[in-house]
């Protein structure tokens, strides 16, 4: 009998409680989930349902009050020390005094990537998202979509195995959002990262993910898991299919519960 490979991310009965002098907030209660290697999982829920907290727990930025968090069979803290996580936020959060390519190089300086290969690596990555002409531009000279592309590339630079994305496209306009969603799918199908993608946009979750985990607030918990049975290599046309709309409907009903 061969031992089965551990899941990429495993949470078991995780509680997160924040205590302030005035109140106690149950950010997450009894959250259990397993994410396979290379799986794209969307965490869908209203504001305050703890979906961002869940990402922070996975990446060891927040410690659970109780429960188990494992990444590839070891504690989250170890995975963090092994630079397994690439984090993308709602805002690009770039360093304004560094140019696009210098921003992408930041994590390479920290993870001790071979210095001689840093620039070439960043150039390739930025080229793939169409920013070749903007390598030396500063953040204030870039559009919102370009800045978020830089932020995504920054989270991929040292080739981490897990991408954690916290509503990365919610501040963008519809057109740019669509472009970035497709670019993200292209990156994912090429590099087979495990992606945990937080969003409050139902159709975005269905369009991108293999599985949608629907969350509910007060206390934050997972209320439903919806496998997305749409063909891969999705293109924007899939949004108009009946199947897609049925998935959206199921997710919406799960949110209402």
């Amino acid at each position: 009998m061969t031992a089965e490979a551990p899941p990429c991310v495993r949470l078991e009965d995780v509680d997160v409680t924040f205590r302030t002098p005035d109140q106690v907030v149950q950010a997450l209660t009894g959250v259990s989930l397993e994410v396979g290697e290379g799986e794209f999982v969307a965490l869908l829920g209203p504001t305050g349902c703890g979906k961002s907290t869940l990402l922070r727990v996975v990446s060891d930025l927040t410690h659970p009050s109780s429960g188990v968090v494992e990444v590839r069979g070891r504690p989250a803290a170890e995975a963090r020390r092994a630079n397994e996580f690439g984090f993308v936020f709602q805002e690009p959060a770039l360093l304004p005094w560094r140019s696009a390519i210098e921003n992408v190089m930041l994590p390479l300086e920290v993870v001790k990537y071979p210095p001689a290969e840093r620039r070439a690596r960043c150039e390739v990555l930025l080229e793939r998202v169409g920013l070749t002409k903007f390598l030396n531009r500063y953040p204030h000279e870039l559009s919102g979509g370009m800045k978020q592309r830089v932020a995504i590339v920054r989270a991929l630079a040292w080739n981490p195995s897990i991408l954690l994305m916290d509503e990365p496209f919610s501040a963008l306009d519809e057109l740019t959002k669509g472009e970035l969603q497709d670019e993200l799918l292209a990156i994912w199908s090429r590099e087979r990262k495990t992606i945990l993608f937080v969003t409050h946009n139902i159709s975005e979750a269905v369009y991108l993910a293999d599985r949608v985990m629907v969350m509910s607030a007060h206390p934050g918990r997972i209320v439903a898991t919806i496998p997305v049975e749409l063909p891969r290599s999705r293109d924007p046309g899939v949004r108009d299919t009946l199947e897609f709309l049925q998935h959206v409907k199921r997710a919406r009903e799960a949110l209402k519960r």
């Binding site: 930025l61 963090r80 936020f89 005094w97 920290v110 030396n136 920054r154």
Partner: protein
């Protein structure tokens, strides 16, 4: 079709002409009043008298140099100690709580009251003057630096933590560059304060420096020399402010850069 040309940049001459004209008129009126009403020079010397005194004043450069030295030495000590302390404060909750009350108290003590004490301890040399310049500049440097270090983007700090960055990497790659504009804002305030500190310290027990010159020319009613000292001090203040303003611009070039290539 010809493109409309951008407006020509205002030249230095164009910008300096209005204030220079106003100054010239004011000086002419001043000179005229003093000559017409025969005002005694101990009360109000004419601008030309002041100019003559400026040229003939002996040791003016020496006194000026000494005061500048005291001010800058105090400033530099304050910058080194202040920035180091701020770095420690943002890394330690204990230090922040333990030290900040005393930093605030230090700012509340009237600096003039400390000068005699420092003179008892360190004598009449330049040491107590440097210390006063240092103490008076300490507060704006520490408060500004601390605020700057703390204003680093929460998410970038999270990002750095998520890739296991060390404290010194976070400090030098994120917090310190974020704080630079705040630090230079503190420097600009501290620059003029350091001069005030050095001059006020020289008022009490010294035989050289611009502060000494101010006090002696006042007590001897050499009002022309008093004016010369004040003008030199004003010029020094403006110069220091301009230097730090320029350094601030240099430090911020990345953010405000219009040229895409560096």
């Amino acid at each position: 079709m010809s493109q409309p040309k951008p407006a020509p940049r205002e030249s230095l001459l164009e910008r300096l002409t209005p204030p220079a004209l106003i100054l010239a008129v004011a000086l002419a009126i001043w000179e005229g009043l003093v000559r017409t009403f025969d005002v005694p020079p101990w009360l109000l010397p004419a601008p030309t008298d002041i100019a003559v005194r400026f040229v003939k004043a002996t040791n003016l450069l020496y006194h000026t140099g000494l005061t500048v030295l005291e001010a800058l030495a105090g400033f530099a000590a304050s910058a080194v100690i202040g920035i180091t302390l701020s770095a420690l404060i943002v890394h330690s909750r204990f230090l922040e709580r333990g030290v900040f009350p005393y930093i605030i108290v230090s700012n509340a003590i009237p600096i003039i009251a400390i000068i005699p004490l420092l003179t008892i301890w360190f004598g009449y040399g330049i040491a107590p003057k440097i210390m006063i310049a240092s103490i008076i500049t300490f507060f704006p440097i520490v408060t500004n630096t601390t605020r700057g270090l703390k204003s680093a983007d929460r998410r970038i700090l999270d990002f750095m933590h998520s890739i296991n960055a060390t404290r010194s990497e976070v400090f030098f790659k994120v917090q310190l560059p974020t704080a630079l504009p705040y630090i230079f804002a503190g420097f600009k305030i501290a620059a003029s304060l350091s001069l005030v500190g050095a001059v006020v310290a020289e008022f009490y027990g010294s035989d050289r420096g611009l502060g000494y010159l101010v006090i002696t020319s006042a007590t001897q009613l050499r009002t022309d020399l008093l004016f010369v000292s004040i003008i030199v001090l004003a010029a020094l203040g403006v110069t220091l402010f301009a230097i730090f303003g320029h350094l601030e611009k240099l430090a911020l070039r990345g953010e405000a850069a219009l040229e895409p290539n560096r």
